[in-house]
Symmetry: C2
Subunit: 329 residues, 2 copies
Amino acid sequence: MVKLRDIAEETGYSISTVSKALSGKGRMSEETRNTILSVAKQLGYTPDFYAKSMASKTKILVIGLIVPDITNPFFAYLTRGVERACGESCLLVLMDSFRSLHREEQLIRTARFYGVNGVIVGNSRVNDELINEISKYVPVVIFDKECKCENVVSIVMDNYYGAYLATKHLVENGCKNIVHFGGTQELYVSIQRAHGYETAVKESGLESHIARIGYTFDDGYKAAKKLLSVGKTFDGAFCMNDLVALGVMKAIKEEGLKVPEDVAVVGFDDDKQLCEVTVPSLSSVRQPVEMMGETAGKAIIELINGHSNAKKIIFSPSLIVRDSSLRGG
Amino acid sequence: MVKLRDIAEETGYSISTVSKALSGKGRMSEETRNTILSVAKQLGYTPDFYAKSMASKTKILVIGLIVPDITNPFFAYLTRGVERACGESCLLVLMDSFRSLHREEQLIRTARFYGVNGVIVGNSRVNDELINEISKYVPVVIFDKECKCENVVSIVMDNYYGAYLATKHLVENGCKNIVHFGGTQELYVSIQRAHGYETAVKESGLESHIARIGYTFDDGYKAAKKLLSVGKTFDGAFCMNDLVALGVMKAIKEEGLKVPEDVAVVGFDDDKQLCEVTVPSLSSVRQPVEMMGETAGKAIIELINGHSNAKKIIFSPSLIVRDSSLRGG
DNA sequence: AGGCATTTTAGAATGGTTTCTAACAATATT
DNA sequence: AATATTGTTAGAAACCATTCTAAAATGCCT
């Protein structure tokens, strides 16, 4: 490994002069600088990152981002948002827990030993104590979870409002019998979305019908199939997420009904790849995921730099209307 | 920031003793160790990663992964594969170029200044000179591109074979008139796939018809629509990727034809989210993306450690048959 | 008690850079 | 010609942990 001293010996200048020539900070004769630069290039000098970080007061920020599954579009967009906030000024270390809670906890626990200056946790399953524990050492930004510790910023989405929006939209499009294909009750977001749905339905004088199912294409397909096979018809479906919605749509088509004419369908998450590509295209509630990621990035940088105040940042979703819920007239 | 000296002053022991107590390496009385450990905990000591890395000879490996767009499932799976290879032994720094060639070049150029020990480039657009240049300083693994430099490992997919497989499959399912909805000619993979298609078609005594379009849902939709509107019918479609295939399928349906009865369709990439969720589900050529990522990770680690021989690693695709290409009898 | 072996602790060098201060040389001012 | 001014370069301290070597302290033996 070529170091400053090697260049100093080769050129005959001192180490400090070489350092300044390469960093371009101090002033010196053009000749000296050019000599040093060319020798440095010739020798293939690469600065030692660790030595550099240690010597300079402004160490490069390293941000750890822990996600349960980078192949899930939600987390991919989140990551991209964080990347955007990082820009040139900090390094993003990605840690994927492969959906293993154990590995996730391990990552959180060990992140700080890897020189990470702050941690963004893109998931809400880890328990509060762990967050409490590590936030003593390293600032933390966490999603969809409220945390009262110092040094922790929560970023949450208003799931209640998103569900409310979607359901109201179905009502406005003439639906009288709206079913909510929802998630299991353990997950906080499921509860919130179901709650938003219920509020909207009751407000409109309609009856609420919640099918607690799950989060996959198959879950949606089977649940809708079951309902339709026992003659339980409906003319609107508000679904937990886009995959469930697509499953429901498949079942509807198989029963000879049409979307949106017979049943209007709305999903959640607005996975563009998915929503814009199906026939008919799928209406969905959009979370500003990338923006949330960017906000998380900015928040952690502020926390690290010691001047942050926000403890909780709430984002509002918006409804993206496509063909699956639009009936003319 | 609490450092070893603070603990040394607090306990009255020397810095070296404190260091050894915390690392658990040298031998010392239980009492001393316990005292030091408890004071360290009380003070909230966190070792300085940079100082640690510099002092100890075994610096932690840092691998840079440059992708053009993490929200693209291909790169998300690639990333996951690399993560898997990293395990506990190295840190993965993710760099997203946001599809900007300029930014990508910049990232490649500056990666080594961030203390990255090796770089994986998940994209083939950058020019050879740049790769050449940086491979002088840092080992490189690159995808879908052959590079003759020392210090560079290429990982390539046999696109020719994938296209051949898909086309043969269509022939076996009774297609007599197969169109290839392909990509532009600048991209190496497009050329390869078109080539594989042509070989299979000619081998089967059929005529070749290549539509050079692009890579999006819309591209596929418009191209198929155009063909069908001028009465150019076909009974098989091998598409550049899954999105194009879905666009083609939409056009076919709109013209009152059925998939797969009237036209059998095969895509490329096997984006599971997409393929399994459409009606009918889409047959597609699968690239072992995650495996390729894992291989890339292992290769870069070997390169960094100085014992690598492989210069080019070739992966074979496989065909995943679903409903869109299966006709009974 | 003196000498030896063994355990425990301290001191100093090391890693590669940055940055402050001081020294030096060259030019300009009086 | 002596001093002031400016521009260049060298030297040394600092960053913080590791690790090697040497010294001090302890215990044991004769």
